[in-house]
C-alpha cells in the first residue's frame, strides 16, 4: 500500500468493533473456498492448481517426517550401509565434478524454465528403450529451394534437421552447392546423459559416425534419431581398464 494513511487512521481511531472477528472468519472460509476452486476449475488452470497443491503437500510431509525424527532418540546406526569408504574420505561430501556440473546446469534450467512450466504429458517415454528408428522421408529431411532468374530451377535442397559440420568447414561455392546446411541448425555441442550416473553433460561433438538413414546423411553430418556421434569426454576424467585416459565416446542420439 502506498502511503501510510491506513496506519494513521488505525492509530487515531482504532479498529472496527467486528474487525478481528471478520478477519478470523474470512480466513477460516479461505480453506473451503480454496478447495472449491480447486475442485471446480477446469482446463489448464485446474492442472496448475493441482500441481501447486501437490508440491505443497510433499513439502509438508517432509517437514512432518523431519520433526518426527528428532523426537525419538536413536543410538548409533547399527545397520551396515553400502558404499564403504576409507577413513580419509569420511566427512567429505565428495560430489564428483560431474554431479556439480549437472547440478549447476539443472539449477539454471529450473530458474529459467519455472516461468514456462506447464504440465503437458511427455510425448516420448524414455524408460522404454524401444528406439524404433523409422526411416526419415526425403521430403521431411530436405526442403526444395528454387533458384535461378525465374525461380524455376529446383535442384537445390536445404536440410531441415540438425547437422554437425566440424571446425574448419568451408562451404562449396554457392553456385555449385546442392545441399545447404543452414548455420542456424548447425550444432557443436550435445547433451549427453550417462546412463549409470544419471546426469547429463554438455559435451563437444567430434564427428557424426553413422546415420542409420544412409551414408549420404552420414556424409552430410545430419543428426536424426538413432544417429551415432562421437563426443569429447576428456573433461569427465574417465580412464579405460588399461589405464589410458578416455577422450572420445560414442553416444546414441535419442532425441534430436
Amino acid at each position: 500500500p502506498q502511503g501510510d494513511y491506513i496506519e494513521l487512521h488505525r492509530k487515531r481511531h482504532g479498529y472496527r468493533h467486528d474487525f478481528f472477528e471478520k478477519k478470523r472468519k474470512k480466513e477460516a472460509r479461505q480453506v473451503h473456498e480454496r478447495s472449491a476452486k480447486a475442485q471446480k476449475a477446469l482446463g489448464i488452470k485446474g492442472k496448475m492448481i493441482a500441481k501447486k497443491n501437490y508440491a505443497e503437500k510433499a513439502l509438508m510431509k517432509k517437514t512432518l517426517a523431519m520433526h518426527e525424527e528428532s523426537s525419538t532418540r536413536r543410538k548409533v546406526d547399527d545397520e551396515v550401509q553400502d558404499g564403504a569408504i576409507p577413513a580419509y574420505l569420511m566427512d567429505r561430501e565428495n560430489t564428483t565434478r560431474a554431479k556439480v556440473l549437472s547440478n549447476t546446469i539443472k539449477q539454471k534450467r529450473k530458474e529459467k524454465a519455472g516461468k514456462w512450466e506447464v504440465p503437458i504429458p511427455k510425448l516420448f517415454d524414455f524408460l522404454s528403450f524401444d528406439l524404433q528408428v523409422r526411416p526419415v522421408a526425403e521430403d521431411e529431411m530436405f526442403k526444395v529451394i528454387r533458384s535461378g532468374k525465374r525461380k524455376t530451377k529446383q535442384w537445390k535442397r536445404m536440410v531441415t534437421k540438425c547437422t554437425f559440420v566440424g571446425p574448419g568447414f568451408t562451404r562449396k561455392p554457392p553456385k555449385y552447392e546442392r545441399f545447404i546446411r543452414p548455420s542456424g541448425l548447425r550444432f557443436t555441442k550435445a547433451h549427453v546423459t550417462h546412463p549409470e550416473l544419471k546426469c547429463t553433460f554438455n559435451l563437444d561433438i567430434i564427428e557424426v559416425k553413422k546415420n542409420p538413414n544412409g551414408p549420404m546423411y552420414t556424409s552430410l553430418g545430419v543428426m536424426t534419431k538413432g544417429t551415432i556421434i562421437e563426443v569429447n569426454v576428456s573433461e569427465l576424467g574417465l580412464v579405460t581398464p588399461a589405464g589410458k585416459v578416455v577422450w572420445g565416446k560414442d553416444p546414441l542420439t535419442i532425441q534430436a
Binding site: V80, A84, A87, Y88, D91, V239
Partner: protein
C-alpha cells in the same frame, strides 16, 4: 686404500667439498678432475668414511641429483669454477626394490570395498579390513586367503600391526576396536569400546620404548584419542582436548603422541599420564595427515630387509633401538602435516612449537603425506591430481608428478626409498622412480 682418479686430458679440475645432508663437511675442499662421476665420488666417500663395505651413495648439487660426470654438469648449468662446489651425499639403501610391472595376483575374498591394508612388520603376512565388516589375513607365498576374522559390526576402517608382529588391531565405523591373533585368526578378547564415533587411526607404541608391545593409541571422530593396553584389555588413558574429529594419530619415537585434528591444530601428548605437552597451531583448515621422519623404523621395529627373526622381546628392543638411533642421527624427529588449506608444515616438535617450514604449492587439499623410509624425502598426495616431492630435512620443493587425472588419495614408498607409488580416484596406480620426472603409468584397478 688408494683413491682412484683418472687424469683428465687438459687437467681441468673443480674445487669441491663433500657435505652430508645436515651440513657437516667430510674431508676438506679438494680439487677433482672434471671427468669424475658419481661412481668415483662414491669411492671417495667410502674411503673418507672408512666404511668396511662399499655402501651406495647418491650425490646432489643444489638439490639436483648428479648423474653425469662433473664436467657435463658444470657445462649444462654454467656453474662458476671460482666458487667451491658443495656436493651433498646421501646414503642409499643397500638393497634395491624392483619396480612392479603388473599385478601379480588378484586375491578375491572381500565382498565389499577394501578400506585398509597393512603388511606385518616382518613382511610375511598381509591383513586387510573391508566394508563387509571382516578382516582377512592373506598368505603372500601362495597368494591365497588364510583367515577371515569376523566380529566387527560395521565397516573396518583402520588396521595396524604391532611392531613386534604379535598383535593385530582393527578399528571400525561403530567405534570399536578388536584385537586379533595373527597366527590363528581368532579374536583375542572382546571388542574394546569407549569411542563414540568411528575410528580414524591406530598407532602402536614403538618397540624400542617398550617390548613386548603392549600399548597403542586410537583416534576417533568424537575428538579423543585413547591409549589402550592390550594385555589389560582396557583403555588406560583418554587424551581429550580436540574440539573436532581427530583425523590422524602417530606415536613418535621419543615417547610422545602426535594427534592431528579437524580443529586445525596438532597436539603433542605425553604418554605416561596423558598430559598435553604442546599444541602446534598454524593450519587454516583440517589437518588431514601426519608423517614422522622415523615412521618406517617405528612401524617395522626390529625387522629389516635381512629377514631375521628374533626370539626374545629384549633382543628385539635392543635391535630396534639401534636401528632407531641410527636413523635418527643427531637431528630431532621431524613431523610433516598436510591439511585442507592446501599447504603442509614441517615441524620439529621437540624443538619449538612454531613450524619450521611451510610447504606451499598444491592447488587443492593435501590428503596424504608420507616420509620416505630413509627420511630424506617427503611426498604429498593432493586432490589437485598431483604428487609433490619435497626435501625431508629442509622442506624445499623438489619435483611434482602430474600423471593422474583424478584426485590422488594415497601414496606409499618402496622400502629402499627409490620408488614412489601413488593411488588415485581415477582407479589407477602410478609408480614413479624418484630420480626423474617421467614415469610409467600402469595398472588400473576398478573400485579401489
Amino acid at each position: 686404500m688408494e683413491v682412484e682418479t683418472e687424469q683428465g686430458e687438459t687437467g681441468k679440475s673443480v674445487m669441491c667439498v663433500l657435505t652430508d645432508p645436515e651440513g657437516t663437511t667430510l674431508g676438506g675442499t679438494m680439487y677433482l678432475p672434471q671427468n669424475v662421476g658419481p661412481i668415483q665420488l662414491q669411492q671417495i666417500v667410502n674411503t673418507l668414511l672408512k666404511n668396511e663395505e662399499k655402501l651406495p651413495y647418491a650425490f646432489y648439487i643444489s638439490n639436483q641429483e648428479l648423474l653425469v660426470p662433473l664436467g657435463n654438469y658444470l657445462e649444462k648449468n654454467k656453474v662458476s669454477m671460482e666458487k667451491t662446489l658443495s656436493i651433498v651425499y646421501q646414503p642409499q639403501a643397500v638393497f634395491r626394490i624392483r619396480p612392479v610391472n603388473r599385478c601379480s595376483a588378484t586375491i578375491a575374498g572381500h565382498t565389499e570395498a577394501v578400506l585398509s591394508v597393512a603388511f606385518s612388520p616382518d613382511g610375511r603376512q598381509l591383513a586387510s579390513g573391508s566394508g563387509d565388516t571382516t578382516v582377512r589375513l592373506w598368505d603372500l607365498n601362495t597368494q591365497t586367503p588364510m583367515f577371515t576374522c569376523t566380529g566387527h559390526k560395521n565397516w573396518v576402517l583402520c588396521i595396524a600391526w604391532s611392531p613386534d608382529g604379535k598383535h593385530l588391531v582393527s578399528g571400525s565405523k561403530s567405534g570399536e576396536l578388536q584385537c586379533w591373533d595373527p597366527q590363528t585368526g581368532k579374536p583375542a578378547g572382546n571388542p574394546l569400546t569407549g569411542h563414540k564415533k568411528w575410528i580414524t587411526g591406530i598407532s602402536w607404541e614403538p618397540v624400542h620404548l617398550n617390548a613386548p608391545c603392549r600399548r597403542f593409541v586410537s583416534a576417533s571422530k568424537d575428538g579423543d584419542a585413547r591409549i589402550w593396553d592390550i594385555s589389560l584389555k582396557k583403555c588406560v588413558i583418554c587424551l581429550s582436548g580436540h574440539t573436532l574429529a581427530v583425523t590422524c594419530v602417530k606415536w613418535g619415537g621419543d615417547g610422545v603422541i602426535y594427534t592431528g585434528s579437524q580443529d586445525c591444530t596438532i597436539k603433542v601428548w605425553e604418554t605416561s599420564q596423558g598430559k598435553l605437552i604442546r599444541e602446534l597451531k598454524g593450519h587454516g583448515h583440517w589437518v588431514n595427515s601426519l608423517a614422522l621422519s622415523t615412521e618406517y623404523i617405528l612401524r617395522t621395529g626390529a625387522f629389516d630387509h635381512t629377514g631375521k627373526q628374533y626370539s626374545s622381546p629384549e633382543e628385539m628392543k635392543k635391535v630396534a633401538l639401534e636401528r632407531y638411533n641410527k636413523m635418527k642421527g643427531n637431528a630431532p624427529e621431524r613431523l610433516v602435516s598436510g591439511s585442507d588449506d592446501f599447504t603442509m608444515f614441517l615441524w620439529e616438535p621437540a624443538v619449538s612449537k612454531h613450524h619450521k617450514v611451510r610447504m606451499t604449492g598444491h592447488q587443492q587439499l593435501v590428503n596424504h603425506v608420507y616420509f620416505s623410509p630413509d627420511g630424506q624425502w617427503v611426498a604429498s598426495a593432493s586432490f589437485d591430481k598431483s604428487v609433490k616431492l619435497w626435501n625431508g630435512t629442509t622442506g624445499e620443493f623438489v619435483a611434482a608428478f602430474r600423471g593422474h587425472v583424478g584426485p590422488v588419495y594415497q601414496i606409499s614408498w618402496s622400502a629402499d626409498s627409490r620408488l614412489l607409488l601413488s593411488g588415485s580416484k581415477d582407479s589407477t596406480l602410478k609408480v614413479t622412480p624418484r630420480n626423474f620426472i617421467s614415469f610409467a603409468p600402469f595398472l588400473a584397478f576398478k573400485d579401489n
